[in-house]
Assembly symmetry: D2
Homo-oligomer: 231 residues x 4
């Protein structure tokens, strides 16, 4: 898996702080953006995060280059609708020698791993055969979920908060969890205060809302609400 | 492919007409909803469609049961973000005897069709083997794009207009085009005036904006703009 | 204030239950929708709400006729972006005798109330005068926030959950809180189980996350996160 | 009116070009982003715009500081839901000496202008009086639509295309049209090719779809569809 922050709104923490401050100030955002001291930015962000006042964080966006992930993952990923995606198309790009992702549980057992590789080879041959006679968009019907794909994905900070809360949780499927954690590493490098607390509630609150599905990492909330899930 | 309109906002055309009328009226929507005559509803809808005034059509939603479609299709479908989806999960539902979709171009050639079936059988065997040792969410990595899936999808009317414009076009991939046309049949039964003109511009305007990608069904617009596409 | 549920997805609880069940079942949604017993629907909804699994609730929508509210309120309301709105337009509808909303804190003090009415009358006169010479869309610049407006608003159930959590809270402004509570009354009549627990966390969990802004109705969470707010 | 591009995705045209190219390429986005020549970026953008392939333009966002606009305008503006807003709050910021916007049609006639100023002064006095006795969130009910407000607004490029198409049109209300044109000036400075053609169809296609509402600037399309409108 290859995850890299391709680009992002410059000075994201200053941008969020200026937008947040505007709501309670007679001063315009352009001046706030220029005049806020580093200490004021810090203090505003601390207040924002403490009070759960998330809407100003929408003003900054983060664009990721993602490679070496499966089509299983991408199908889950694009269910997050408050984001923008561009994905390598199996309708137009021919997979004459496709890469694929092996789940760790399969890779760990030599016999299963061998069976997995053999199956991929069989699929590759069938695909190549079909490709001689039909369009790529039809030949791809034999391609596996494991098939590697590449994407560009853009999220704003608030949508990332939601993504990290759901997908950095141990209940999330392993591959999308690895992606979410890698994306979080990337954004923490450029906006450490904005993302210091981003993640599942066991990390941010020391409490778990997953009820009987909990992994046990943190004590259960007395009233267990769950956090909402997709797919 | 099985497509059925599961449920929808009752009396959708009256609902849209009342909402549209409200914007230009001193009367409230509850009274308009009750008092508009059938002729007034007709006239309001005709005006809406002629003038491209689409926002009141968002108030009505249509929920579809969709079965017998491939995971290729569902991956494309869920890219339409102004909609809601529930999909049979390959993490939780075991595919010990999965159904699959064969592209017509493959089914038309006996040798290709045979190769396709053989490949599916190989995959099925590998999947069943993996399932003995690893969770379903990992075994599914060998499953093909062709694998059958089931969904519930809800769109509002305005989002359907966009969906039909893009996906009933002959440039769309065959399977999602068949789905879009079947969905359009369903909604035309319950809201014939709202959807009379829904579809690609060759049907609605007698003109094509696809430029050099045009299928030739309608003359090209002098300035060819395309219609926007996803995936 | 007049709030009425104009229309909604028929049998909303069955619709949500069928969509939720589909994700974990080999059976299609059309059959589930028909075959689920009332007891099964109940049980599925109870599980959904307990586990915070909200996405299936998006399949059902509720359309409200709203009258007798101020433009202050409507400006706040339309900040909720996962919803559809049609609003009486001040560009097209002339307010030659506009109604207006008086805040209870003003109405409670006779002198303030008199001052309020006088100011409204002055504005009405100026508006009528301007209307003789300029278009309604320009004359409206003198109209007050208090000016009455009418809307049609459509939300799906999941978006209503968010709306009720934020706007039924005592920290919300009084007018939008009254609207939210009235809307909740309406939907509880037709989908009592779906909305039994909808509201701020003091009602749903017996805990408050508002920290130092708390009204004191429920004990504070040890880690106070706030709930996110708009405007 | 004061409109300034506060910040934006760096190198927006390269970002869009890399995302667009990824869909049809075996190469990942990080390498495309680094390796595309200026000529390749130009060519990719030209192709995008010609073919109406808008989805890759979502990856770049533009954040505006907006001041000196009316609450009439902001109420219209926030109806554009694919965007993020932070707005100076009349609940928290006291308007003890509020600025206001005078429509040009009113300002052009001395008697109307005087009447407008007098009305504003009456409102200011009433507001200040109320403020002594009630919270700002209630006193604001007397404030006019003309009242000045400040915002931060973030749009992605695709959403700006829609905004400029609707709001740079002469049918749009004068104030939001002035805002849209000022925003377009700003983004054209930093992404001239992306926004070269952004605007109403009379500018981009030399044709008008507004039917009987047309301003006459460009010939009518044979089949007049309108372009969709909000509020």
């Amino acid at each position: 898996m290859y995850v890299r922050l391709l680009t992002h709104t410059p000075d994201p923490e200053r941008t969020v702080a200026a937008a947040a401050r505007l709501c309670y100030s007679a001063t315009g955002a352009a001046r706030l953006y220029e005049d806020l001291s580093v200490e004021q930015v810090d203090k505003l962000l601390a207040h924002l995060i403490e009070s759960g006042y998330e809407s100003p964080t929408e003003h900054v966006t983060f664009t990721f280059a993602i490679e070496g992930v499966s089509r299983s993952l991408s199908h889950q990923l694009v269910r997050h609708r408050i984001a923008s995606y561009s994905q390598q198309s199996q309708r137009y790009v021919r997979e004459q020698s496709f890469d694929y992702i092996i789940p760790p549980s399969v890779a760990a057992v030599p016999a299963l791993k061998a069976r997995f590789h053999t199956t991929m080879a069989t699929i590759q041959n069938a695909y190549n055969e079909l490709l001689k006679a039909v369009p790529a968009e039809d030949a791809r019907y034999v391609l596996p979920n494991a098939c590697e794909t590449k994407l560009v994905a853009t999220f704003n900070c608030r949508s990332l908060y939601n993504f990290f809360r759901l997908r950095c949780c141990r209940r999330a499927q392993w591959e999308i969890r690895a992606l979410a954690c890698a994306m979080r590493e990337e954004v923490r490098r450029v906006a450490p205060r904005l993302f210091a607390l981003a993640g599942p509630s066991c990390e941010t609150e020391g409490i778990c809302y997953e009820g009987r599905f909990s992994c046990g990492r943190a004590p259960l909330a007395s009233h267990s609400r769950g956090q909402g899930r997709e797919e």
